[in-house]
């Protein structure tokens, strides 16, 4: 009976499909992208959310970009000079920069934008502690004067990921940094179609005809941002991973930003689909809460570090050998800072060693509350593995499942565990965001005053970080980074759990797509 009914339904459906057919091809080219998450906030300075950052790259331009080799390259800036005492930076914008409303980009716009960014971004904030003043020195020029030399001015201005110092018109940039902007005008390659923006459904961008790309080859967030499609549509409604993959296979969408690892192998086999692995990956970490038992005890933290071999985490979470690799560094492996200094406690650790360390630590059986996100498939298995390893080591574990949003609000709580606090959570960082001792938020060690959650306290670590900030010599910086890392492992700030690449997938017909891993950008694509 049921079989018969299904067949009847099928027959009807077939007739249906025949009648309507596939909608006729459009004259204009539209690129349909399935982003990795939902776009909720349209102010990339106000929030660090990667979706807002990517949105920023669509409509805004940056002073500098980072190429795929992590080198800083000029983008809006045409030329610049640094004074001999390394205190005065003079910048000149390149020609032909226009906002979407037709107004030219001026030095005043830049100064206002940087000022707002400096109040929100961690690295920007660090830069501002060095800045004496910023001023427009002409219609297309501006100057930054430092109180003392700083080694990361261009790195900050060319920062590829959140918060990116996007350049907005002055009137927009003057918005209170604690409030969100309400006008979305930039000088970037795409114009945001506000009327068609439906949160949770779609965001639409059309080509900005008057955008003048640089002549250089595009690379990372640097180089020429050429636009070859008329329209980019972000499909924000399609969030089920299987449905994303199906839609891509059916040609209903062009790109999916986040290929679930389990679909990697299948998609590789699909002739119509190209899998992209970016050079720059992400790093997993589990974070200790240093304020409460048992992780207020450095010996317990070290025991855990010893048990946290990276392989089980990577195998469970990623599972595809092509896509992960253990990385002993707290910074990005493969970059100059990606050294393994001081990592032996973890990289040479074993369960037996961990058990010994735990025995000596004076661990009293306090259960560890691990917060586990239920709705973030890219990190949801790390806590499971962490729990299992700690249980095998002999600790008591209370694995508490919650959605990511709850986790995010709860991790901000410094309260004891029984009052809604926590002991551990795990997350992933885009490599550039943890690429050095300054921007790696997990290394802040000012106790309860540390901006990022977990609140380790170690004066020596802070000193080393400050020295790194002041240092301008690249070689010495690498050495200092090693020192910072060594100290961080000694303190046990957190446990790095290896690197992975988040593959992206697109239809074969898509050409020229830049998948640097720095950020998701949609210029230079031909369809």
């Amino acid at each position: 009976m049921i079989v018969k009914r299904t067949l009847a339904t099928l027959a009807a459906a077939a007739a249906f499909a025949g009648t309507f057919g596939i909608p006729a091809a459009r004259a204009e080219t539209t690129l349909v992208v399935v982003p990795h998450s939902n776009l909720a906030i349209l102010d990339p300075i106000w929030t660090t959310a990667y979706m807002s950052r990517n949105h920023g790259y669509m409509i805004y331009d940056t002073l500098f970009g980072t190429d795929e080799n992590s080198k800083i390259q000029p983008q809006m800036v045409g030329s610049w000079t640094v004074s001999a005492d390394k205190k005065v930076y003079d910048f000149k914008l390149r020609e032909g920069l226009l906002f979407h409303d037709g107004a030219p980009v001026t030095g005043e716009d830049v100064v206002a934008s940087l000022a707002r960014w400096g109040k929100r971004d961690a690295m920007g904030g660090a830069l501002m502690t060095f800045v004496d003043k910023m001023e427009a020195t002409g219609a297309d020029a501006f100057r930054i004067t430092l109180k003392e030399p700083a080694g990361f001015v261009l790195e900050a201005l060319g920062k590829p990921s959140s918060n990116v110092p996007f350049i907005m018109p002055k009137r927009v940039a003057e918005t209170d940094p604690t409030k969100q902007i309400t006008e979305y005008i930039g000088s970037g390659p795409y114009v945001f179609v506000k009327d068609e923006f439906k949160p949770g459904d779609k965001a639409v961008y059309v080509k900005f005809d008057k955008y003048q790309p640089r002549k250089e080859k595009p690379s990372g967030t640097a180089g020429g941002k050429h636009v070859y499609v008329d329209k980019v549509v972000w499909n924000l409604a399609l969030r089920d991973y299987q449905a994303q993959v199906n839609a891509l296979a059916n040609g209903e969408v062009d790109i999916i930003e986040n290929v679930p690892f389990q679909h990697y192998a299948t998609l590789l086999k699909n002739k119509d689909i190209e899998i992209r692995k970016s050079k720059i990956g992400l790093q997993y970490m589990c974070r200790f809460n240093h304020l409460h038992k048992p992780f207020d005890n450095v010996k317990v933290r070290q025991a855990v570090l010893a048990s946290f071999r990276q392989q089980p985490f990577l195998q469970a979470q990623v599972g595809v050998k092509d896509l992960y690799k253990p990385c002993a560094s707290m910074f990005t492996c493969g970059t100059p800072y990606g050294v393994s200094t001081g990592s032996e406690i973890q990289s040479k650790g074993s369960m037996r060693k961990a058990q010994e360390l735990l025995k000596k630590s004076g661990y009293d059986g306090t259960p560890v509350v691990i917060m586990k996100p239920t709705d973030l498939s890219s990190i949801d298995k790390l806590p499971e593995v962490a729990a299992q390893l700690m249980r095998q080591m002999g600790m008591k574990v209370d694995l508490q499942a919650m959605d990511w949003q709850t986790l995010v609000s709860r991790r901000a709580k410094k309260d004891p565990v029984d009052k809604g606090g926590w002991n551990m959570f795990c997350t992933a960082w885009v490599s550039p965001d943890i690429g050095n001792p300054i921007n790696n938020a997990a290394l802040g060690a000012r106790g309860a005053a540390t901006p990022w959650f977990g609140w380790p306290e170690d004066a020596k670590l802070e000193e080393l970080r400050a020295a790194f900030m002041r240092e301008t010599d690249e070689k010495k910086k690498v050495a200092l980074a090693g020192e910072v890392q060594k100290r961080a492992f000694e303190v046990g700030t957190h446990a790095p759990l290896g690197e992975y690449v988040q593959p992206q997938a697109g239809r074969k017909a898509i050409k020229g797509w830049i998948t640097s891993g720095l950020a998701h950008t949609y210029w230079n694509i031909k369809k």
């Binding site: 299987q242 299948t266 499971e384």
Partner: protein, 312 residues
């Protein structure tokens, strides 16, 4: 019959009170095909739930990433908490963490049945109390029923989602969140039964016999609401099992490591094309269970409460 003068009448005037000879309710229930079918299926499921540890299962939360994403029937290795390596055949395959889906499905029977039964009991108890109060204490009737109308105006699943999301998801919060939107339905049923039954002549007779209100409520009215309530209870049980699965599926239900059918399916939906069995196997178990409860409910309704059987 007493041997008096009117035996002649008794013999001559046979009143055919019932054309069929009378069976007891229990006899009718036992004879119902639906009750037998649903009851048998449910008995098997209960047995599975009770005997879960002895059905060739392993710890349903244990995993080994080395054995992840196995297809049904494949063997693999698992490391236990004590560090021993265990060889295990994954009859229903393994999930993306390397957990044994067979064990999870079998243990999931426990969760589903427990949720269904406890939700049914809770909402029945809540509904009976509120319904009796509303049906008997007239000045409270308006207040209670308006609140119930308010709850009923909110789709049940929205209340459940909102409540579970509000509290930390756990077995008890999920159960309460599913039970709350069911309470108004029971309350309404009990109230209307009370209002109907209290008009019955036998209740009026009890009043004139000087029986106290509680005696009437619990002695005359409540026993006569049992049949429709049992029926309603089975339907609530079925609905609760479904809603629990839906909550898990939407990612707002029980914590994912707890082996529930909804969780297994939610985990499986990420790679549904590759491993459709991770959705379909628990889906079949879920459907069969709910089907069994519903069939049992249908059978009970037809036999216990023929009036209601006519209604739906």
């Amino acid at each position: 019959m007493a041997a008096t003068g009117d035996t002649r009448y008794e013999e001559l005037s046979v009143e055919a009170a019932d054309i069929r000879p009378h069976e007891t309710t229990w006899q009718r229930v036992k004879k119902s095909g639906s009750v037998r079918l649903g009851g048998a299926a449910l008995a098997v499921l209960l047995l599975i739930a009770a005997a879960a540890p002895w059905l060739g299962t392993v710890d349903p939360t244990m995993f080994d990433a080395g054995s992840r994403d196995l297809v049904p029937g494949k063997a693999g290795e698992m490391m236990t908490l004590d560090g021993d390596l265990l060889r295990h055949t994954f009859w229903f395959g393994s999930d993306s963490l390397g957990r044994d889906i067979y064990s999870r499905v079998i243990y999931g029977t426990r969760v589903s049945l427990f949720v269904g039964v406890v939700v049914a009991l809770l909402s029945l108890v809540g509904g009976i109390l509120l319904g009796l109060v509303a049906g008997y204490i007239r000045w409270l009737d308006g207040v209670i029923m308006r609140v119930m109308d308010g709850i009923m105006a909110i789709p049940a699943i929205l209340i459940a989602i909102a409540l579970v999301a509000m509290w930390r998801p756990s077995l008890s919060t999920v159960i309460i969140a599913i039970a709350i939107p069911e309470i108004p339905r029971v309350t309404r049923l009990v109230r209307s039964l009370v209002l109907t039954i209290r008009e019955e002549p036998y209740v009026e007779a009890a009043i004139s016999l000087g029986s106290s209100t509680p005696k009437i409520m619990f002695g005359h009215i409540l026993p006569n609401t049992i049949a429709p309530l049992v029926v309603q209870g089975t339907f609530i049980c079925a609905a609760a099992i479904l809603i629990e699965a839906i909550l898990s599926f939407l990612g707002v239900g029980l914590p994912p490591e707890i082996p529930t059918w909804g969780n297994i399916m939610a985990e499986g939906r990420i790679a549904f094309n590759e491993y459709p069995h991770t959705v379909f196997i628990p889906g079949i178990f879920l459907t069969v269970t709910v089907l069994a409860v519903n069939i049992l409910g249908d059978g009970l309704r037809d036999t216990l409460d023929p009036k209601m059987a006519k209604r739906i």
